[in-house]
Symmetry: C2
Subunit: 575 residues, 2 copies
């Protein structure tokens, strides 16, 4: 029972020395990659840089205990950092103790929500974030984040978590550009872009194995960080107005009990829920992709518990909301991680770095961190999704465009909320007007097809309709209208046969509609029949008294219906 919720009890017992070796190597590489990212994402979240390091220690240990993916690397990520900034920034000002405290509470709430969802097996809630919504949201977030980092690259002030405010504030401060900051920022950017685009290829050309080259290239940004620190010292950039990371407290924070006021919890509960779902969807997708390569399976509900534990640990360790990151998980996997222990070793690496490296990090220009973020998030921006969605269906395009547009203009929370609402409404709208075909018999066969698409035989006194959708409240009245329209236009109709091979369910509203159709057709002296009803749907219908009232019959096949009804005399009718 306990082992079900704590995977480490299963894999931990069989942990081998060989596994340790592979996990440790992966941990070293991920640690090198994670240090600059942690600092940068904390700044993006409006937090002191060391909070990013804190969020990369305890959460990784917690995930190693409770998580089920052998490849996932958790920690601060770009989109969640932006969402944290948006949520906390609405409550209090950046740079205050309240701000940090609110970020901790946000992690705690997020952890609680994720854990609860995992225990209650509510992972399906994440399904409401449809692919178009997630794509539009991630792309918009990437654009917002990249734009917000321009201030760091230019050495100017900016504020806001949506495009209009960001662009206005950037424009207002544009004359304040610091040339030294700009120089170090642009150099860092160029270096990072070169590492990302060309380094692996160059290494391969030099004879380095492809896998190693890729891994080295992924850890490469640390070189840019080191070079920036050196430049900062050599040119005395701090005195020239270039913003440096500055003094970072050496050592790990004490375990804190967050300051939980009712007002704060109430204000953060909604954002925490959205952050949880977005973080989970991103994480589970990475975890499943990497698991498939090892023919392993990820249990989504256990992942909720793993991420929940990681976020609660983030709160305990003075961090902020975390989730599984795409790039670092791929690095972790490619570097050979075979158990969640790799994450725990990474945590150890970050802890050592926090203790030992902070004096050097104080000299790092913030512009370099901004460049790190810009390079990382530009890979999130995928405007081609708009074109792809448009080609596939207008409904999906509408969902992408709504989410993308609202997120850019009004921010992350409204963007994702309206995106979800739009995709649900679009789905309901589509199923509310299902495809309904009048069908006839293909000559010489027992097959019935759409009269508009095929040359088929029909009987004037029989209206055969096939409805290609489950019948439920949103389309129940549509079906009624559809039938009334046809029978009032054709007074010769004496029988209506509803062919239901594609009806997977009939809810109570649809049942009520079928009863209304039956009663109203009876008033018109028309019999109402059903054909090809699926087993589970028939079981359900038998639980009501509908079949007793049905004026016609239930036929096993459309062919049987037409064969029998064609022979029936429709002379004097019962009253």
């Amino acid at each position: 029972m306990l082992a079900r919720y704590v995977p480490i009890l299963t894999w931990g017992r069989a942990y081998t020395r060989e596994q340790f070796g592979r996990d440790a190597i992966a941990a070293v590489i991920v640690t090198i990659m994670l240090i600059p990212q942690s600092l940068a994402y904390a700044l993006l979240a409006g937090l002191p840089p060391e909070v990013g390091l804190y969020a990369s220690v305890l959460p990784l240990v917690a995930y190693a205990v409770f998580g089920s993916s052998t490849s996932l690397a958790v920690g601060p990520v770009a989109v969640v950092s932006l969402m944290t900034a948006a949520a906390v920034g609405r409550i209090t000002a950046e740079g205050t103790a309240d701000y940090i405290s609110a970020a901790i509470v946000l992690a705690l709430l997020s952890g609680g929500i994720l854990t609860l969802m995992g225990v209650l097996r509510l992972g399906f809630v994440a399904n409401f974030l449809s692919h178009p919504v997630i794509s539009g949201f991630i792309t918009a977030s990437g654009i917002i984040i990249a734009t917000s980092q321009l201030s760091g690259l230019f050495g100017i002030a900016s504020h806001g978590h949506a495009m209009p405010e960001l662009l206005t504030s950037l424009w207002d401060h544009l004359w304040e550009i610091n040339p030294y900051t700009l120089a170090i920022g642009m150099s860092s950017l160029a270096g990072l872009v070169w590492i990302r685009r060309d380094l692996a290829r160059r290494l391969v050309a030099l004879g380095v194995p492809a896998a190693t080259a890729t891994t080295v290239a992924r850890a490469g940004p640390v070189v840019v960080v080191l070079a920036s620190i050196v430049a900062s010292v050599v040119f005395g950039l701090g005195e020239k107005g270039v913003a440096l990371v500055g003094d970072v407290p050496q050592g790990l924070p004490m375990f804190v009990v967050p300051n939980l006021s009712v007002d704060l919890v109430a204000a953060l509960l909604g954002p925490a829920f959205i952050i949880s779902i977005v973080g989970f969807v991103e994480s589970i997708s990475v975890a499943q992709t990497l698991a498939a390569r090892k023919r392993e399976r990820i249990d989504p509900d256990q992942e909720l518990i793993g991420l929940g534990a990681a976020n609660i640990a983030a709160a305990i360790g003075s961090g902020y909301p975390v989730t599984g990151g795409f790039a670092r998980s791929v690095v972790n996997h490619d570097a050979g991680a075979v158990t969640p222990a790799a994450g725990a070793f990474t945590a150890l690496g970050i802890a050592i770095a926090t203790l030992a490296l902070t004096p050097f990090l104080a000299l790092l220009p913030k512009a370099t961190l901004a460049a790190t973020i810009v390079v990382a998030v530009l890979s999130l921006v995928d405007l081609a999704i708009l074109k792809k969605a448009l080609a596939y269906s207008r409904a999906d395009f509408a969902a992408v465009a709504t989410t993308l547009g609202v997120t850019l203009v009004f921010g992350v929370e409204l963007g994702i909320s309206l995106g979800v609402a739009a995709s649900i409404l679009i789905f309901l709208y589509r199923t509310s007007k299902p495809h309904v075909a009048v069908v006839g018999r293909m000559p010489g066969t027992e097959h019935f097809r759409n009269v508009l698409r095929h040359r088929v035989e029909t009987v004037p006194k029989i209206l055969s309709l096939r409805v290609d959708e489950s019948l439920y409240f949103a389309n129940a009245r549509f079906l009624e209208d559809c039938i009334y329209e046809k029978v009032t236009a054709h007074p010769e109709i004496k029988h209506v046969v509803l062919m239901c091979p594609a009806v997977n369910a009939i809810d109570m509203s649809a049942l009520e509609s079928l009863e209304a159709i039956n009663g109203r057709l009876r008033d018109m002296q028309i019999d109402f029949h059903l054909a090809e009803i699926k087993g589970p749907v028939m079981d359900r219908l038998k639980r009501s008294d509908f079949l007793q009232h049905l004026t016609g019959k239930v036929f096993l096949s459309q062919h049987a219906a037409i064969a029998e009804l064609t022979q029936v005399s429709d002379g004097p009718r019962r009253v």
Copy 2:
């Protein structure tokens, strides 16, 4: 073009003397029935009684011009009156000029919304009120209304539009019961119940034709009203503390321009929308039932315009929101109305009554009107729906119970909103976990059925899955999990065939999931195939590049898939 939106231009031209005769007779009977109801419902809405009469004049004329039902009788109805009281009562106190003015604005907004929905052909929005929600809502409204009228029957004060407040206030004032009011109230109630239950039967026993007896019984309450007025005069009830209707302005109101402030409109827009939808759903259901008896068809979008015009007319004529009433429409139909002109003649009747009868109505005890309402709304209360829903499905029961409970405890607006939200979420939840069956071949046939239900033949290296639901965002990841779970448990699987005869649509999220499944199965060296995809779904898939990436094939039938894949050698695999 104009005739499309103004049905009177069509039927009005062919209007005959015979039609006039039948419409006029129906109008007389409906007028007699409508006078006490109009007064009573206005009081229920917290408005002076004459407002009910005003709402029964112009709206009927407007509906006669724009409506499409030949039987529908519009005017004040119980549920909409309660909703009006709830909406306006939140803004201002009963008995003030602002209250009346807000009710007029509510009618105007409701009329605007309905007309706009009709012109934009948005009638499908009403589909979101599922049958369980409407049933639960109407039943709860009936209970609330009946309870609220106890104060009128007892002659005590009460307030509130939900049960807790109503019951508390009734309890607080219980010691103030006026025995004369109680006596006249209970006598009226007894008389009305007797008329409803027994009068028609007695008349038939006396040799009156059944149809006439029913119609007389429907108009019977006017006798109780007359008797109460006589009792009021004879016993001088007014001096004994019995609340009378009191002075009603003689004559019709001037056309008023409602006082439209932005704040008022903002506060009333939400309630106006809910009132519009509820009124429309009730009205269209009555109209369709009665139309079917004449083998006529109701155009829902034209009905929106008809009801919209009626509500705008209500605002112009100092009335309040109206809709088609069930009982009076049935009376109208049974009394022989053949065109919407019957409504216009009823309006004339009410106008004459307003001019001529108001001195007599002043003496009518309000307790009699309360009794009228109680008798009318008790027919709305249908607690059996709970049992029926429970027997049919837990999901529908949850929707009924949510709507009923929340409406009773928290009032009409929250009740219907949460009911709609619940029924949408329940639907999404149900479709998010569709029925998925592993299928095998029925021996000696080409049919494939569920391995759990039938003795079928399977091939170990092939996993055949049939999914009984359209694939969309809410169930896309469920399908992924389902497949990964099965293939990781059975390493012998080399092929997965997804059988899609019940898949009516594949949205972009589901497409993304299929791509992920394809890619991840490829990583596991498993081929992914599809079978029995419907034409429209296939057309859609061809608009993406999914089929180019598919590791397996698309088979026309499951049988063809198994036949071919069984023969394939699965020796050395491509990388």
